[in-house]
């Protein structure tokens, strides 16, 4: 088995290259040896200590036949029945949720990327009035409370809300609260909230490309498009991949906005994985199935994270130079 990417792979790293002074002897030496581990104890206890028990429980519950609200004594060991049901049953929403999550991630990330890149390039022109103000302002949507964002858009998307009014001005009439338009509505909100994230990271990437290279290419007669595709784009590629992966992680675990907007409905039109877990637990009152879905979600998240860490390790030089 090969080594994991080193810790300093992800950020910084200069410090670890420095030599550690040789230990002297005796007790001091054993302290030297144990000090790094002793330092980790509070953090490990605070995170593992709290999480270990619930995680093991989650695994255990996923093998049980147990209804929500009934006592633990009524739970029966059911083997892999929950997983089998999720995969084979007609009424299982697992694949529906996975498809929705894929659509959700794909559509929103592509739109965010295209829009974000366009805005970043515009922002990177030689002179832009109030560039810093724009950049700072763009940070606001991403940091806002997701629940409030969902609430806010819920108000705007009502038939007599603000969005409906402005769309009406250009002659578009959409009822967002239908099975067809619910998912596009969620994606639209997502695009609103996270395009600025792409703008900021891509702008940082564009800034890091040295002006001399671009000027030299311009003197050699390269057109603007040529410079963009053949000099800027290869440089931005790792940043695009890392930013998109971050978004995939966010979308996998998203719950708040969809919950406040539609609670998974109408029907199961917006039943992404997180909502499925919630529904299996509180509507179908089936703890086992909910836990099995949780295990699947956790596994997916770990998989994407692993890919993310590996990739971030490989592209670390670029990422570091791009972080302002």
């Amino acid at each position: 088995m090969d080594n994991p990417p080193s810790v300093d792979g992800l950020r910084g790293g200069a410090a670890n290259a420095l030599p550690v002074t040789r230990p002297s002897a005796g007790r001091r030496q054993s302290l030297r040896l144990w000090l790094p581990y002793l330092c980790l104890v509070p953090a490990i206890i605070a995170s593992c200590g709290v999480l270990l028990y619930p995680t093991l429980r989650m695994f255990q519950y996923s093998f049980l036949n147990w209804s929500f609200g009934k006592s633990y004594e009524t739970a029966k060991w059911d083997g892999l029945a929950n997983y089998q049901w999720l995969i084979t049953s007609q009424s299982s929403t697992l694949f529906h949720s996975l498809r929705l999550t894929l659509l959700y991630a794909g559509a929103s990330i592509v739109c965010e990327l295209v829009l974000g890149l366009a805005i970043a390039v515009l922002l990177n022109r030689r002179h832009v009035f109030g560039r810093q103000v724009v950049l700072t302002g763009f940070m606001i949507p991403t940091l806002l409370m997701p629940v409030m964002v969902g609430m806010m858009w819920r108000m705007y998307m009502y038939p007599n809300g603000m969005l409906s009014y402005f769309l009406g001005l250009v002659g578009i009439k959409i009822d967002w609260y239908t099975a067809t338009w619910a998912m596009p509505a969620v994606i639209l909100i997502e695009i609103w909230q996270f395009t600025p994230f792409f703008v900021i990271s891509l702008f940082a990437g564009l800034r890091a490309i040295s002006a001399e290279i671009l000027e030299a290419a311009a003197i050699d007669g390269a057109s603007g498009w040529y410079r963009f595709w053949h000099i800027s784009m290869p440089y931005l590629r790792p940043i695009i991949v890392v930013t998109s992966m971050i978004r995939v992680l966010w979308i996998l675990k998203s719950f708040d906005i969809v919950y406040t907007m539609f609670t998974g409905g109408p029907g199961s039109a917006t039943e992404i994985l997180g909502i499925s877990i919630y529904r299996a637990l509180f509507l179908s009152r089936n703890i086992g199935r909910s836990a099995a879905l949780s295990v699947i979600l956790a596994a997916l998240t770990l998989l994407v994270t692993f890919a993310f860490v590996r990739f971030a390790y490989r592209s670390r030089e670029v990422m570091e130079s791009a972080t302002p």
Partner: protein, 286 residues
């Protein structure tokens, strides 16, 4: 000849100026479009309920604090604000405090299993919140921590401590180790060297890490929603009031939205230099 050259120069300058103006204009129009929904929320929260729900929207209407009065008096939002502040502040302080030794260890030592331990921390950090809600409920009931500040804080730690380790590690790495070593050579203990030399230089690091944890805990909905009912309810969970009581209430919702999000918008201004570092590390947080 010379005059003609001068004229083309002036024309070019004009064209460049126009170009800048047009570019800036496009950027600002897009920017304002993006901010519009939030600005709308703020402006509309100062209108009378009748004007808020009017269709087509009334852009110019009398100013009032009625909605805020309602939110603070009828819904008693200051109670939830207080809960949110307590939980977010204690989570922030505890996370940074517990994470500091580990961050120091990762930044300053080279030890066996370092990479795997870092992986473990990341794996903990990505655990999806919604997946653990039921086990958390069971655990909170067993420990008697249901609907308490302590319970919420305890369940926020597993996500925020690894995040703080990750962030602080970077900031500690940025302080040259030679500074500490020379202090130790002058007779300081390792702890003394850290406290006197490195810690003061870490203030921006503490501040940034703290703000990001604070924002996360302030915005957190899932755990707060399922694990609190009356005593420890935080601000994000109060949206339920506006959803379920009778018909959907617009007017107080606007005011509550502003009360809940304005502190965060201010935080955004405070951390703007470290926004990318924070969001990239925070991306992993469940």
């Amino acid at each position: 000849m010379n005059e003609q050259h001068n004229q083309t120069g002036i024309r070019r300058k004009w064209r460049r100026g126009l170009d800048t103006l047009a570019g800036s204009l496009v950027v600002w129009i897009i920017f304002l479009l993006f901010l519009a929904p939030y600005l709308y929320l703020i402006v509309w929260s100062f209108k009378y309920p009748g004007d808020i729900q009017a269709y087509p929207p009334r852009f110019f209407s009398p100013f009032t604090l009625l909605n805020y009065k309602q939110v603070f008096e009828d819904v008693n939002i200051s109670f939830y604000l207080r809960n949110s502040t307590i939980v977010a502040t204690v989570t922030t302080l505890l996370s940074v405090l517990l994470a500091l030794p580990a961050a120091y260890s990762f930044a300053r030592f080279r030890f066996w299993g370092q990479d795997w331990l870092a992986y473990l921390l990341i794996a903990i950090m990505v655990a999806p919140l919604i997946a653990l809600v039921y086990p958390f409920l069971v655990m909170a009931n067993q420990l008697g921590l249901n609907d308490s500040h302590l319970g919420l804080i305890l369940f926020y730690l597993p996500w925020n401590v690894p995040f703080a380790v990750w962030m602080l590690r970077t900031f500690i790495s940025d302080v040259p180790q030679e500074l500490e070593e020379s202090a130790q050579a002058d007779g300081c203990t390792r702890l003394g060297a850290f406290g006197r030399i490195t810690a003061p230089l870490l203030l921006p690091g503490f501040f940034t890490t703290g703000i990001f944890i604070f924002i996360g805990a302030w915005n957190e909905f899932v755990i707060a929603f399922f694990l609190t009912s009356t005593k420890a309810r935080t601000l994000p969970t109060t949206i339920d009031f506006f959803l379920t009581y009778g018909s959907f209430q617009f007017a107080p919702m606007f005011a509550a939205g502003v009360v809940g999000t304005l502190p965060i918008a201010v935080c955004a201004l405070l951390v703007r230099r470290y926004y990318l570092a924070g969001t990239t590390a925070g991306a992993l947080k469940g």
